[in-house]
Structure formats: structure tokens, C-alpha cells
Symmetry: C2
Subunit: 348 residues, 2 copies
DNA sequence: TTGAAAGCGTTACCAA
DNA sequence: TTGGTAACGCTTTCAA
């Protein structure tokens, strides 16, 4: 029923081995032979059997990209960039096409492990984990073990925007300087004269949450400003909305709010509007990330710009083990403050 | 080096066949035997070899989800929902875990076909195509041929938010009523008294673009309103921004703008703000889709709500061939007008 | 440069 | 309920 390599070989009057070599382009094949084979492939409309190929070669052309929330543009941008980088490097087997697969963990540690197992089962060529990690000893150990096993089996592992795995030189990491970013974000508000600053944080048990909060506090104490109220929530808009209302309840005199990411910042803005407060007239808002809609949607939002495209592309290239490949290497992408719109100084 | 089924069998003192049966849960196995096998699996930390399994079973547990733009929350929501639906139906082989893989075509017809080939090569269990399709005879024929081939090979194919393939009863389709949605959106503005309405359309060669534009025009002519200016662009924010400026240039007296989707609508709002126009005081904006940030980000945006979650979940279930699976069936999800915030009537 | 043949690790059919 | 054993379709030495 289905066309196999043998059929193509018969039609081209060569051995299956030769067809395989033509398709993979790894071995020298006479030009005339190659052409005959390719014609046969075309005429028979032959499509390589991936599983069979992967079984024999002990590796597949699947590249897994794990994200915490596929509906969040933050991850979309990184995944898209990584995917492009992977596609460009096309040089593998059978046409060199890699299949970049985006896996949505939804922030659940179980699903994260499940996907890693699934990718391990598929003998994935590479795995890229994006975004912050859960700060749970047991889970981190489980993930670390899994990643080591993957790496040992020949799968390239890259962490992007997630802290490196201690003591594993086979896992490459690319991190964001969350602490410095949050510091600069807060510094900006302090420079404008704000002193009563509230903080909307992410989930308490995530690395990004902790690092950003630490950076914020460093800036506050360095400036001699009293630490304002902090409310934790998940990294989404609804959470930013609720947390902001809570901040205002605790401290009605706030003149600025720092949000753990842009999506949260949007929620904060919505809450402020609903409270009848103008932005940034009454309260200024600052957020992390670099989401495409933040500039337009929120006229006066200060944002730390994370080079998502670049990071994603770089992770993709690392995963493909090309020029930059340095397993075990740790590169940190510095947070770069960028005032996307002038946040106003406090009134009075 | 790596642990195989045979290793597990030896350790559990049973045959490989039995181990396979335990792992797949398809055949009756004595409870005591099962337990012995599972213990061995655990002790050896065995992970099934996916490619080998897929080769022997002639099918894999991969489910492909093609999206036009992974950074667009619209697709993220659909992909996430489909993925959940797929995960729930866990009943397949080897633990029943399906690997949902999201493939980003970037709207490129070539990449769309490439991904379909890749999924065909992987012997994917199902493929879900989301979003509008390019209206190009040649490309549509190529995709239709590919889909038919996939379906013939046992891959379930589902179209979600994309017009059905003519004459192929093996491909299930789930469509949005784009025409009626656009009509109701425009009707809403007309009812408020708007007469000078501009339209920001998507790319000229997409089905969604055409259907929505047709619905808009139907509403205009039915109300006896003169057709306003239309500008085409891609389905992103920057495009909405530019198109809006162009609309205002052509027709400074516009009192309302209809955008082909919410992302575009956000761009339109940004442009209006930059022009010093208040929304909806000077100009009202209406958009398609149901993006999570539209309500908060844009105070007065009228939106046609597409039941994305439901559609995605349903597509996922269709793909899994569970209760609703009706290959060849065509289900249409009606557009439902939902005023998310009161769009204002025109001034004067 | 090409061919022959031995795997690769599972599944599924046929017996027992 | 379990075991034996052909496939499954490709890759890759080893020879020629």
C-alpha cells in the first residue's frame, strides 16, 4: 500500500542503501544515480518513514520547545524565534528538516516531566526549556535527572530564561538578568521621585519571581526608600488586576506600581482605570518583558526590554549545535532598561 | 547502554510480548504479572522507544497543530484548548500520552506544506489546521491532496476555523461564521448611528479576510450606507496601525473603524491615540476575535466573540476521534456578537 | 561508487 | 493468559 524505500530502489534500479544515501546526502553518490533516484522518489511520491528512520539511526529530527503558557505572547515570541533558527540550520538527515514542536506545560511541574519523558521516548534531537522554573527541591532534582539522562542519550538540552542545572556540563543555559532588570526598572521610578511603590509579583515558588523581587528590593533599599507592599499572583492579567486592587487597599497612597511582567502590568492598568485613577498621572506602572502590545495598549508604561527574539533564536541555534554550541556553557543576556514611554513623576 | 524491552522482560521473567502488553494495556494480563513487569520497568528506569513502537504499530502518538502565528494569542488559545482535549482523551498506546506538537507556519504556504510532509513522515495520529487559508488555487489543491493522502494513511485531519476541503469526506471541518460575524459587528456600529465607517482588512488572499469583508459590506449596503474606505494589511498590530493612518488620510471624517481582528484593532487604537483622537469619543473601533487583553487594554472596543476555547477543544476531540468524530462532517460555530464595552455613537 | 545484509526495538499474529 | 517470532522500513558497516 504505502511506498517504501525498496520501491524507490527498484524503480531507480539501485539498492535501498543507495536511495538512503541520496536522501540523506551524507555519502558520495554519482550524479547520474542521484538524479535517477530523485526522479523515482518524485514519480512514486515517496515520503520517508520517520519512525523507521529514527529507529535505525537512533535519533529523530524532532526538537521540543517547552513553554509555560502557549497563550502568552512572551513564549510565543521565543518559541517562534527558536523555531526559525532551527529551520535555518537545516542540515540534518532526510532533507535536513527538523520538526520543532512546541509543548505547553501550563506551568505544571507534572506536565513538564511528562513532556520530557515523551520527548525522551521520541529520541528528540534537542529540547529547549523556556521561562522560569519552579523552585521546588524535589521537582528541580527530578528535572535535572531527566535532563542529564536526555543529554546522555544524545539529545541536546538548552535552557532559555531558566537557571542552569547545577553541576551538569552537558546542559547549555541562556539566562536573563532578572535581578538587574528589576533593579533598573525600580531605579527608574525612584529617579522620577517615586517613594511609595507597590510590587505585583509572580507565583511565590518561581525563580523569575524571586529574582525580580530581589532586584526590586535592592533598588529600594539602595535608595533608602521604605519597602512598599508586595502581592503575589500568577503571571496573568487577571492576577495583575486583583493584586493591584489589593495593593491599593493596603496602601492607598501608592504613586507607582512595578509588575512582574507586562501581562500583569496590563491587569494593573485595568484595575487603576476601574478605580478612576489616571495612568501615569495618579499612579505610574512599570513592567517586565517586551510584549508587542504593551506600547500601544498602555500609553505610559515603563518596560524592561528582554531581547526575546534574540534569545529564542540563540537557543534554537544552540540546540542545533552549530557555531555557538557550547554545552555546559552559561550565557547571560543582560537586562536592558528601555523607557518606552515617559512615566510621570509623583504628584504634589 | 540503553535499556530495552527485552531487558525489562528478562528482569521480570516474562516474554517481551508480555511487557509490551502491560505497557499498552490492550490485552488481558494477570495482575501479578503486570505488577512484576511494572516493577522491573521502574527499577530499570525504562523508557519506551517511540520510533520503534511507531514503526511496528504503523502509527505514532504525535498530534500536529498548525497555526499561522504562534505569537498571536488567538492561536495560542486554540492550540492550548486542543492540547487539553487531546490530553484528556489519553487512551492510546504506551501510557496513552499523546504528544501535541504546535507547528508555526507563519502564514507561509510553503511552510504549511513542509510541516504537513513532516507530520506525514512521522505518521502523525492526527493533524489540526487552524485559522484561515490562503486563497490560491494551486496551493489549496496541493494542501487538499496532502490532506487526502494523510487521511488515507490513517491520520485524522481536522480543519478548525478554515474552510472545508471540497469533496473530501475524510476531513472533518469546524468553521466560524466569519461573514455573519462581520455583519453583526458592522450592524452594531450602524445601529449606533455611524455612517462613515472604515475597514481594516487582513491580507487580500485569505479566506477569513474575504468572508469578513463581505459580511461588512452586506451590512453596509443593507443599511443603505455608502461603503467606506478599506485598507488591507497583515493580521498584526503594526499593520492595523498603518492601515488606520491610511484610512484617516483618505477619509478624515470617519467616525468608526472595523478591524479584521482584535490585534489589528489594538493597532488601530494606537494610531488614533497618536493622532490625538479619543476612543470612542471621536472614533469607535470594533474588532473580531476574542483576545484576552482586548477588554482591559481598549476600554471601548466592540468585539465579535469567537468561542475559541470551545472550538479548540472541539477540534482536539475531533482529532482524537472520540464522541464527536464525524469525518467529513462540517460543523459551523456561529459568530455571536458581544458588546464588551459600549462603543459610542458618532458626535454631532 | 555501489550492493548485500545485519541489525535497530516494538508490535502483533499464531500457538500453546 | 503467556511465549515465540515474523514483520515494520530504514541505516550502516563490510565487501566488492
Amino acid at each position: 500500500m504505502t511506498v517504501t524505500l525498496a520501491d524507490v530502489a527498484a524503480r531507480a534500479r539501485v539498492s535501498p542503501a543507495t536511495v538512503s544515501r541520496v536522501l540523506n546526502g551524507n555519502y558520495p553518490v554519482a550524479a547520474s544515480t542521484r538524479e535517477r533516484v530523485l526522479r523515482a522518489v518524485d514519480e512514486l511520491d515517496y515520503v520517508l518513514n520517520g519512525p523507521a528512520s529514527s529507529l535505525a539511526a537512533a535519533t529523530s529530527d524532532l526538537v521540543g520547545i517547552l513553554v509555560n503558557d502557549i497563550a502568552d505572547p512572551f513564549f510565543g515570541i521565543m518559541a517562534g524565534a527558536a523555531q526559525s533558527a532551527i529551520g535555518e540550520g537545516a542540515s540534518g538527515r532526510a532533507g535536513g528538516e527538523k520538526l520543532a514542536v512546541v509543548c505547553n506545560t501550563g506551568g505544571s511541574p507534572e506536565r513538564e516531566l511528562t513532556y520530557l519523558t515523551l520527548l525522551q521516548r521520541q529520541r528528540a534531537a534537542a529540547v529547549i526549556l523556556t521561562g522560569g522554573s519552579l523552585e521546588d527541591e524535589e521537582h528541580m532534582a527530578a528535572v535535572a535527572a531527566k535532563l542529564t539522562k536526555l543529554a546522555d542519550a544524545g539529545t541536546r538540552v538548552v535552557l532559555c530564561g531558566r537557571p542552569p542545572v547545577r553541576g551538569d556540563a552537558s546542559v547549555a543555559a541562556l539566562t536573563f538578568d532578572n535581578r538587574a532588570g528589576a533593579r533598573r526598572l525600580t531605579d527608574h521610578l525612584l529617579t522620577l521621585g517615586h517613594r511609595r511603590i507597590g510590587y505585583v509579583a509572580g507565583p511565590a515558588d518561581r525563580t523569575t519571581t524571586r529574582h525580580r523581587l530581589e532586584g526590586h528590593r535592592e533598588a529600594m533599599s539602595a535608595a533608602g526608600a521604605a519597602e512598599g507592599p508586595t502581592v503575589h499572583g500568577s503571571y496573568d492579567r487577571g492576577s495583575g488586576y486583583d493584586a493591584t486592587l489589593e495593593l491599593l487597599r493596603r496602601e492607598p497612597s501608592l504613586t507607582a506600581i512595578v509588575a512582574a511582567n507586562d501581562t500583569v502590568a496590563l491587569g494593573a492598568c485595568a484595575a487603576l482605570r476601574d478605580r478612576g485613577l489616571s495612568i501615569p498621572g495618579d499612579v505610574s506602572v512599570a513592567g517586565f518583558d517586551d510584549l508587542p502590545f504593551s506600547v500601544d495598549a498602555v500609553p505610559a508604561l515603563t518596560t524592561v526590554r528582554l531581547p526575546l527574539h534574540e534569545a529564542g533564536a540563540r537557543a534554537g541555534r544552540l540546540a542545533m549545535a552549530t557555531e555557538e554550541a557550547q554545552p555546559g556553557g552559561i550565557a547571560t543576556i543582560p537586562a536592558e532598561l528601555m523607557v518606552r514611554a515617559s512615566t510621570a513623576p509623583p504628584r504634589g
